[in-house]
């Protein structure tokens, strides 16, 4: 059975697609590596500059808008800090693809407006591969290797939320729409 029929209807424009270069990381990338505790008290921009530094110092300076972060098992395990997802989003990451996610990170990522996709074949992706990610279809195309990987698709209501920039901006938009409709009535 598909979740697509559950709630709301697809808007069509909420595709959340991303294309970019792969940045590949191993298993168990935790929230301390994503949002180092040392920088938690300072300004958020500073924190983001140190995102993933402990495992790849070239990542934060080198990542381009739309690039895809590829993880192994348990990506984002650790604490519940929302900054872990926020930092990737801030750096322009187009999507995170992993074999599995820390549960709270997965929640936070989507709530912060960052596409997170579970993909059993994530291990086939190499650093700098050219990827196209389609969260609505649940498909990753590896243009470098000419391969296609199935992943768990995001249902329409979450895609819309992600495309709106996360839960709070999404609610903001919905409420503005309701206010307009009320005014028009």
């Amino acid at each position: 059975m598909s979740a697509a029929g559950t709630i709301g209807k697809a808007t069509g424009k909420a595709t959340g697609k991303a294309t970019g270069k792969a940045w590949v990381f191993g298993d168990d990338i935790d929230t301390d590596v994503l949002a180092p505790g040392l920088y938690m008290k300072g300004p958020f921009e500073e924190l983001a500059r140190h995102c993933l530094e402990a495992v790849d110092p070239t990542f934060a300076p080198g990542v381009a808008p739309g690039d895809i972060v590829v993880g192994g098992l348990n990506f984002g395990i650790g604490s519940s800090r929302e900054q872990a997802a926020q930092a990737l989003k801030h750096l322009g990451v187009g999507a995170v693809v992993a074999k599995s996610f820390g549960g709270i990170f997965f929640r936070n990522a989507l709530n912060m407006g960052l596409v997170a996709l579970v993909c059993a074949d994530a291990g086939r992706i190499s650093a700098a591969d050219d990827l196209a990610v389609d969260p609505a279809e649940g498909l990753i195309v590896n243009k470098t290797r000419d391969e296609r990987y199935a992943c768990e698709a995001l249902p329409p209501q979450l895609l819309t939320m992600v495309q709106d920039g996360g839960l709070v901006p999404h609610l903001e938009k919905k409420m503005a729409q309701t206010a307009q409709e009320d005014a028009a009535r």
């Binding site: 559950t6 709530n111 912060m112 609610l171």
Partner: protein, 425 residues
């Protein structure tokens, strides 16, 4: 299609017949619980930005427990904001300084089997003891719930933990959980739903079941469920709630479970977790012996009436060792009242215990009873991460209230069984 208890509750909340693990659904929230630390002060700015109101004030419970009683101007301001926000938003279910949220929630009859509940705290799985799907969410998630009355969830797999056999004297739910932390690890729950089953669980009181569910958080699970039975229904009725049809909320025997772990409760001996992780657990006979400065009985995990009874059985007619202090922060004001009425408090204070206010207290370093550099403590709380209870270099052991009390008597991390009549060895 056969469904686990978690799947049944989520399906009902999603307005569906059935759900499957891995799919993402949107659920109506039956109840949302917040406390003073993660609640009003964090959600207020989001609600203001959105110009939104609380979707249904009847379905929101607010408890002040982290910063109570105020110890400085900052904590007083947080409590002041909490009181003003709940009043302004018409939250009738505001329990101000009545105890720790996870204990107050069932005590006031707010939980019953089948409910889909979100809590703004990481130990929210405690509600699972009442057959609810209850899990912890962050401030952004909570603000979304308050505005819409809904939240999304990825349907979890269910991991069954079957606990059978009679616990020996001097053992408790805490020992079972510490044993599991060592065995399957803090990530063993994999953010799935744990369901506790078996004869041992069936024989436990509600308060002891709450300890099992509470520490599902330490196993890394999203929820820690126990199916309701007569014990559940009796507790809820006594708390003034309506248990509903308890037997309606059970998992199907032929449902798909991700894994089943078996625990032989009869073979357990008292467990302690050495610093600085609950997963550093093992038998007190191996890990005991270190001299302690403080013994602490507190928290949602370890200071309910049953916990105080355990401590009192050890302390009766004995004294806290010289150079050691025993601090007790009952989990709620009702716990204190009941322990006063049945003589438990007198037993404890005559033994030299120092009574603290009901609240989170020293558990996460918020209130009275924090540790100095290099001090060693044994505590009935759920976590012993570095620096959580005070100074960075302090060291915390975790144990059951029996074990904490015995350690207070000896002045070292000690086996409680020798202090109990007929106890081995």
């Amino acid at each position: 299609m056969a469904q686990t208890l978690a799947e049944k509750i989520i399906a009902k909340a999603a307005g569906r017949g059935t759900v499957s693990p891995g799919e993402i659904v949107t659920c109506r929230v039956d109840l949302a619980m917040m406390h003073d630390s993660g609640g009003p002060r964090r959600v207020k700015p989001v609600l203001e930005r959105l110009g939104a109101k609380v979707w249904d004030p009847e379905k929101v419970v607010v408890v002040s427990d982290h910063y109570v009683p105020a110890v400085d101007a900052e904590s007083a301001a947080i409590l002041d904001l909490t009181r003003k926000w709940t009043a302004a938003n018409g939250i009738g279910k505001f329990h101000d300084m009545q105890g720790i949220c996870h204990v107050v929630l069932p005590e006031r009859g707010h939980l019953r089997p089948g409910l889909f509940v979100v809590g703004g705290d990481s130990h929210s799985p405690t509600g699972g003891a009442f057959g609810c799907y209850m899990f912890g969410v962050g401030a952004t998630d909570m603000a979304g719930v308050l505005v819409t009355g809904e939240t999304w969830i990825k349907v979890p797999e269910t991991i069954r933990i079957a606990i059978d056999g009679d616990l020996g004297d001097g053992l408790s739910a805490k020992d079972i959980l510490l044993h599991l932390c060592a065995r399957i690890g803090m990530g063993g729950g994999a953010y799935q739903a744990i369901q506790y089953t078996g004869s041992t669980v069936a024989n436990l009181s509600m308060q002891e079941r709450m300890t099992l569910s509470n520490m599902a958080a330490e196993l890394g699970a999203q929820a820690g469920l126990i199916e309701g039975d007569e014990t559940t229904a009796a507790y809820i009725r006594k708390a003034g709630g309506d248990p509903g049809d308890v037997s309606a909320w059970r998992g199907d025997d032929d449902a798909a479970y991700l894994a089943t772990h078996h625990v032989d409760a009869a073979a357990l001996i008292p467990q302690v977790a050495a610093p600085h992780s609950p997963a550093n657990s093992g038998p007190v006979t191996d890990l005991g012996g270190e001299a302690i400065h403080q013994a602490y009985i507190g928290a949602c995990t370890g200071a309910k009436l049953d916990d105080l009874h355990m401590a009192a059985r050890v302390m009766k007619g004995r004294k806290v060792a010289d150079g050691t202090r025993l601090l007790i922060a009952p989990a709620s004001t009702r716990t204190t009242a009941a322990a006063a009425a049945d003589g438990t408090l007198a037993t404890l204070t005559e033994a030299g215990a120092i009574l603290l206010p009901s609240g989170c207290g020293a558990c996460a370093g918020y209130g009275a009873g924090v540790l100095a550099e290099d001090e060693v403590c044994i505590s009935s709380t759920a976590r012993n991460f570095k620096g959580r209870m005070g100074a960075k270099s302090s060291r915390v052991y975790l144990g059951s209230p029996f074990t904490v009390a015995a350690s207070a008597v000896v002045g070292r991390v000690a086996d409680p069984r020798e202090f109990l009549e007929g106890g081995a060895p």
